[in-house]
Amino acid sequence: MNLPSPEKRMILRADHVAGAAFILFGCAIIALSGNLPVGALSMPGAGFLPMIVAVLTIVFGLALVLRASAESPPFAELDWADGKHALQVTAITAAATALYEHLGFIVTMLLTIMALLTIVERRNAVRVAIYAILIVGGTYVSFVYGLKTPLPEFGF
């Protein structure tokens, strides 16, 4: 970790961003809690504890922002080198989730594993296909025949 320089210049630090996010989150919760009865200390209502926790989130978020210049690296120095990988994997997993109940377990998972290995990892397509078929087939057999647990089927 890079220790920040002692003189306090106004640099946007990671904890400034993180703290602001938490403060926003806390405010959002309070805004969303409008119709929940707060009740009293002796008989807390549905909105009582959420309100306390939201306020605490804001307070701790502020603390994070205030201490940021002493404790956290500048925001610009965060390493996003893995960002492309993360984005690709997230997109493929999201597609798999969207299709899972439509295409069923076998088709979705074959496509997901092949997509990950060919698009993200750029592996040889034939080996990838064999690997995917073995893995998906093995899992399907253990769930459906070994444990009598139905997995989503095509079209279901």
């Binding site: 119709n35 969207a98 109940e101 439509h102 139905p150 079209g155 279901f156």
Partner: protein, 323 residues
């Protein structure tokens, strides 16, 4: 809260099933959705009936758990399933009340009773008015007198707000004219019983089968039954009707098909169910559970459900008014 329209993936996909359901019903596996987690009465009685149905329908009958939100998720998924007879629902008393509770909170009801066709009632377990052994009450009268005097001192436990063990207390409060008692909601029948046994609650209304072992051991006393007749297991416990209070309530488990299922398929299914209910396997499970008046065919169940739901609506409104 903004009321965005939404489509739940699950429901939409179920409805989008392929149409190879031609020819004689059933041509492939039938799925029964159970709206409550394993361990509850729904799961316990649905599995044996499913097993007994298989040789009659000559197709696999798969039991699938779709639990959550007090049974609402299962009901909602079944209501939006393709009405082809291949997706059935196992539910309980809860299915009667969702619309009424939603109305109370000003929410759009997600499922209504009209979304389902009753096929059969599998079991009906009379509810008992129970007290633990640290309470002085020996009769319903003792209890009612004390409750009139100090309603704020009596806590009752239930398996959940507006649930099947909460509503009977509201019915009882109305029938006996006692003021509102303090309500301790828990996460299910088991925890509610535990609260009563540990004297964290003083009274509770629970199903006969769940309470029977504790009555036998003397930890709990049954003051009365909500059943229409006295139970064979507990012949000394009077019915509330005998005592002059008009209150009747059962915890029941029923099977439903989604609205729009063709009449001939409904007929096939209910005939198969009538036959499956006669099987040794199902009968022995029901007997072992200690449940008595139980199976009803589609016609009787429809009439029973109608009356029961009316009661349930009244109780929900009553609780809503008090709150």
């Amino acid at each position: 809260m903004d009321r965005r329209s939404f489509v739940i993936g699950t429901a939409a996909c179920v409805a989008a099933g392929p149409a190879f359901a031609q020819g004689a019903f059933p041509s492939h596996a039938v799925t029964i959705l159970v709206a409550f987690p394993p361990g509850g009465a729904n799961d316990t009685v649905t599995r044996p009936i499913a097993a007994a149905l298989e040789p009659i329908l000559k197709q696999p009958v798969v039991v699938e758990t779709k639990a959550g939100a007090g049974g609402q998720i299962g009901a909602q998924v079944a209501a939006t399933a393709k009405p082809d007879g291949y997706t059935l629902l196992s539910h309980n008393n809860g299915i009667s009340g969702y619309a009424e509770v939603d109305k109370l909170f000003g929410r759009e009801p997600k499922t209504k009773r009209g979304d389902f066709i009753p096929l059969a009632r599998l079991v009906a377990d009379p509810v008992l008015l129970l007290v633990n052994d640290q309470q002085p009450y020996k009769t319903v009268k003792d209890f009612v007198d004390d409750a009139r005097k100090r309603p704020e001192a009596i806590v009752y436990s239930s398996g959940g707000l507006y649930g099947a063990t909460h509503l009977p207390v509201a019915i009882l409060e109305k029938a006996t004219g006692i003021p509102k008692l303090r309500h301790l909601p828990t996460n299910g029948g088991g925890p509610a019983l535990t609260a009563l046994l540990g004297n964290n609650a003083q009274i509770s209304t629970q199903a006969l089968s769940a309470a029977a072992p504790h009555i036998k051991s003397g930890k709990l006393r049954a003051l009365a039954t909500f059943g229409a007749t006295r139970s064979k297991v507990l012949p000394d416990v009077p019915t509330l009707k005998e005592l002059g209070y008009s209150a009747e309530y059962y915890l029941w488990v029923g099977l439903f098909a989604p609205k729009g299922t063709p009449a001939d398929i409904v007929a096939t299914l209910s005939a198969a169910l009538d036959k499956a209910a006669e099987s040794e396997q199902f009968k022995s499970v029901v007997a072992n559970l200690g449940v008595e008046s139980s199976y009803q065919n589609a016609k009787d169940f429809a009439a029973f459900w109608e009356a029961d739901a009316k009661l349930s609506d009244e109780a929900v409104q009553l609780i809503g008014k008090q709150a």
